[in-house]
């Protein structure tokens, strides 16, 4: 019973006596019984009422039990409902075929009502346990997602940083990350990274990265030194197969100086006021892999109104279309000028809308950060 609702069992058998026998046996135990005397009606009832368990006869005219279970498993609405076969056939092949098609058990006819009750009870318990496990895991993932999102700063939290952001994780736990750093009143840091994989381990990296950035991106260190320090720590804490690509921008608005550090990451798109967008390409080693990593560095004199875009490879790379980020980035550059006059907070999401309208398909996590000088 759940919240005083009885468990619902659907029995599908062309023999009316068998249906009645099942109905009487199980209703005595407090179950609610639905019956169908043919496969087609059984499937329809299953989809409409979503019973907790199905007892299904194999030998029926028209749609036999094998056909019915195949259709049930093909339908997302009914796919997870446990099915117990009722069979008068004793050959092993027939039973194995039932298991292969997704049955959880079988009851041989003639059956004793007490056996039906016992098997229904045990499979409901198993089903409840599995569902509960799935729900628990989903809840844990949701908590991770919530924690992850809470770590990502929003423009309203950093009004002086003048940025807009689009963030989308492909799964509950994303591997892309960004952060905004108040290095001083005049100097802000912008960091975008892509941890290899987009699983739970990748998402745990976020908390570590955030702490590392806060510790190392300070006025004391140059941007390159900050990345070297972070790389050294990551080398110690990351498993061998884990690494990240990253781009760190330090913007001194008062001095009009932008310094970009590239660690194996797609190039920044720079959109000077009134001019065409350009890619600021620079080679650099990834973070967390090499002790003597060399990073790409760009120093750009910027003016008020200039914009630059940092993003992860999910924006420009497509495994399906075999587009690498180096060629993908070139293709996307002309699009950036179309959001030149959009308020900076909205520019990333508007750019994504334009991309989606042009046929863009999500294949990976995405961060798209737009900063205005």
């Amino acid at each position: 019973m759940r919240e005083n609702k009885p468990f619902v069992i659907l029995a599908v058998d062309d023999n009316l006596l068998n249906l009645k026998l099942i109905e009487k046996s199980l209703s005595k135990e407090g179950y609610q019984i639905l019956t169908a005397d043919n496969g087609k009606d059984g499937r329809k009832l299953a989809a409409e009422k979503k019973p907790d368990l199905i007892l299904l006869d194999i030998e029926m005219p028209d749609e036999d039990g094998f056909h019915v279970i195949t259709r049930l498993k093909d339908n997302p609405v009914t796919a997870s409902i446990p099915v117990i076969f009722l069979t008068g056939v004793k050959d092993v092949d027939s039973k194995l075929k039932g298991f292969e098609l997704g049955a959880v058990d079988y009851i041989t006819k003639p059956f004793h009502p007490m056996e039906v009750i016992a098997r229904v009870s045990i499979h409901l318990k198993l089903s409840i346990a599995v569902n509960s496990m799935v729900l628990n895991q989903a809840e844990k993932l949701r908590q991770i997602t919530d924690a992850q999102i809470s770590m990502l700063p929003l423009p309203a939290d950093y009004p002086d940083a003048k940025f807009g952001v689009f963030y989308r994780a492909l799964e509950e736990a994303g591997g892309d990350f960004y952060d905004i750093l108040n290095i001083s009143d005049k100097i802000k840091g912008y960091f975008v990274a892509d941890v290899s994989g987009h699983d739970i381990k990748a998402s745990y990296m976020m908390a570590s990265l955030k702490a590392l950035l806060a510790q190392n991106c300070t006025p004391m260190y140059s941007p390159e030194q900050s990345m070297q320090m972070i790389n050294a720590v990551l080398l110690e804490i990351l498993p061998e197969i884990k690494y990240l690509t990253a781009c760190y921008a330090r913007l001194d608005r008062a001095a009009g100086k932008l310094i970009l550090i590239n660690a194996g990451h797609p190039p920044v798109v720079y959109l000077p006021l009134g001019k065409a967008p350009v890619l600021l390409k620079s080679d650099g080693d990834i973070l967390g892999m090499f002790s003597n990593a060399q990073f790409g560095i760009h120093r750009v004199n910027v003016k008020k109104g200039d914009r630059f875009f940092m993003y992860t490879d999910g924006l420009v790379e497509s495994a399906e279309s075999k587009i690498t980020w180096s060629s993908g980035a070139e293709n996307f550059v002309p699009l950036f000028k179309e959001v030149r006059n959009t308020p900076v907070e909205n520019a990333p999401s508007e750019l994504m809308e334009k991309l989606l309208r042009a046929g863009f398909v999500y294949e990976d996590d995405i961060v798209l950060l737009c900063v205005e000088v």
Partner: protein, 105 residues
Amino acid sequence: MNFKDMASDLGFDEDDFTELAQLLVTTSLSDLKKLENGVDLKNTDKVAKAAHSIKGAAGNLGFIKISGVAAEIESDARRGSLTGIEKKIKTIKAGLNAIMNAIDQ
């Protein structure tokens, strides 16, 4: 034929069992018609399916003799044989009559 004991064996009360026995007679007579039709047409597949249905239903309620004879008919028919089937049909009919008499008492 003791309905009370048979009901108890299955975990039912006598009234429930009587209702089920009545249904067995109704469905099995219907299956018997199909079976006899199959015999007339020498359609062994039809005979086997009807016999299969009687076998399972009677067996579920504990009417072992009816179930056993139906199993023999099914087995023979699946092998393509209808030899001696008339006598077996009579046995099933007699068994169903006995159930009806027990219900009426």
